[in-house]
Amino acid sequence: MNNSAPEITIDEKACVGCALCADICPTKVFEYSESDAVPGVVKAHECFGCLSCTEICPATAISHSNIRMSQVFYHDPKALALAKKTGETALVYNVIEEEESLKQAEEDLGMRLLSVASVLKQTLGQSLPAVGTMAGRSLATQLPRYQHPESVEDVLAMIVHMFSGAWEIEPELSDDKLTLTVGKCFIRDLCGREGISLGGDLCVLFYNYLAGYFNKISGIRPRLTKASRGQEQCVYEVKLYKPSS
């Protein structure tokens, strides 16, 4: 990061003269003149890089350089790749892609999860699983589902795909018995790093999170009958209670 003043350029050919940038800028960097019908950059040194103007600009006419961008850990890699491949990038990103930083983000998130789980445990005690279930059920109403899955197999395939970033899940279904084998697991890695034994609050919380999601979408009540956890994989045996129709 150099210390020179931020530079803000307005592509006058693209600009439509709406002056929304001047309205929205918190530090009044822009001044709009009726005669030119184009906003001028009058106080570039006041810009602190919030990018509100870029966001509101209907024509993508404003670009910045020399601003300090906050680091962004979370971005959908798929969306970023698509945006990059449609042409030259019009927007400035500061996306953390290096392996090291991603690892840092993962550890950071892990620590937060741990503290959230411990606070929940202290305040709710035995109700911890219920919190996981509620979170999972509420997720089910938000995550994409244009087509309602019609069978248990469909629901399971969707779950495997949906959570592949955090867990490697292999479901096996026979009648009303479901066996979930979890290979790669975000929570297990975290427990390994922090020296926490498996099967603690976090495992309980997230198993119930998945169960809640499954329950809300399929209408089937899963009951955990056996859980065996290990360093390579964890196996959950679940009995399914279909609603009596």
Binding site: A83, A90, R145
Partner: protein
């Protein structure tokens, strides 16, 4: 040494192929440096000859589409997802809302166009349960959205491929080429159901008409708004909508229109949600939109 171009047409309407022909005399200039080795609408080439550039139009709707898309990927060096269907699912992507079975049942079982119960014979490629853009199946090197992309952009894209140092594909929105004046006007009432506005020189948003220009990538030279029809978003979302998880078409339109006219944001957003099927028609099958509230489209549409 001419660059070899191979094209394929999946679930699309052929409009993108026709747009290539719309290059007119530019096409003749192109043939000095380009050789077409496979074009389904012009040549009788069934196989997939090796080529430098592959252009794929249309989404994946049937087993044939899937197989053809994979063969295209294997036979070309650079693959272009050509047109909104290939990039986001496009109009074909609306099939996302229904399972393949129920589509067939509606068309053949209910006898809308034939004697009820006459099913297509086994020679027809099997319909898949869902529709996906081609990057769900193969890796795509370049995306050229548009419905169809304007010949100007097709020429730019091909020129860009011929000489990679040329920066020709800017990512601006439709507003950047729109001649209308965006200004603050009030009081204005929300014009429901309108795609045209009284004043031809003033921005649609300023006149209370929902226009998708500010949230749509410009691959069309802003043809519609310049000729008096509000943008319907056919080239799919603009880069900020694609990449920023917290931005969405309806909220950005509502924010801008509200700042220009003073109409309550909530009212505009509600209206867009009520008309959901229209405003998400082009990109709803794309994973890019999975994380947006647009997934509630089923609820909105009821």
């Amino acid at each position: 040494m001419k660059i070899k171009i191979s094209t394929e047409w999946l679930s699309g309407c052929s409009g993108c192929h026709v747009a290539v022909v719309d290059l007119h005399e530019k096409l003749i200039n192109l043939t000095d440096s380009v050789e077409f080795v496979r074009v389904p609408v012009l040549m009788d080439e069934r196989e997939y000859p090796r080529a430098d550039v592959g252009i794929v139009e249309g989404a994946i709707r049937s087993e044939h589409d899937r197989a053809a898309c994979i063969k295209m990927r294997e036979s070309v060096k650079t693959l272009i997802a050509f047109g909104t269907c290939a990039v986001y699912g496009g109009p074909s992507g609306v099939g996302w809302l229904y399972r393949g079975d129920s589509v067939l049942e509606k068309a053949y079982g209910a006898g809308m166009t034939n004697a009820p119960g006459e099913w297509p014979d086994s020679n027809a490629p099997k319909l898949e349960q869902s529709v996906v853009p081609i990057d769900e199946i193969v890796t795509v090197d370049r995306y050229l959205p548009g419905c169809p992309p304007h010949p100007y952009w097709i020429a730019s894209a091909i020129t860009g491929l011929l000489s990679p140092e040329k920066k020709s594909m800017v990512q601006k929105t439709v507003c950047s080429r729109c001649e209308r004046t965006m200004k603050k006007v009030s009081p204005v009432a929300l014009q429901k159901g309108n795609v045209t506005a009284a004043d031809d020189t003033v921005c649609f948003l300023s006149q209370g008409v929902v226009c998708m220009g500010s949230v749509t990538m410009e691959r069309c030279l802003a043809q519609c708004p310049n000729k008096g029809v509000a943008c319907s978003g056919c080239a799919g979302p603009s880069t900020d909508i694609i990449t920023e998880p917290h931005l969405d078409m309806r909220t950005m339109i509502a924010r801008r229109m509200s700042m220009l006219t003073g109409i309550e944001e909530q009212e505009i957003r509600q209206y867009i949600e009520d008309e959901a099927r229209t405003y998400y028609a082009y990109a709803m099958a794309s994973p890019v939109m999975y994380k947006k509230p647009a997934v509630k489209i089923r609820e909105w549409a009821q």
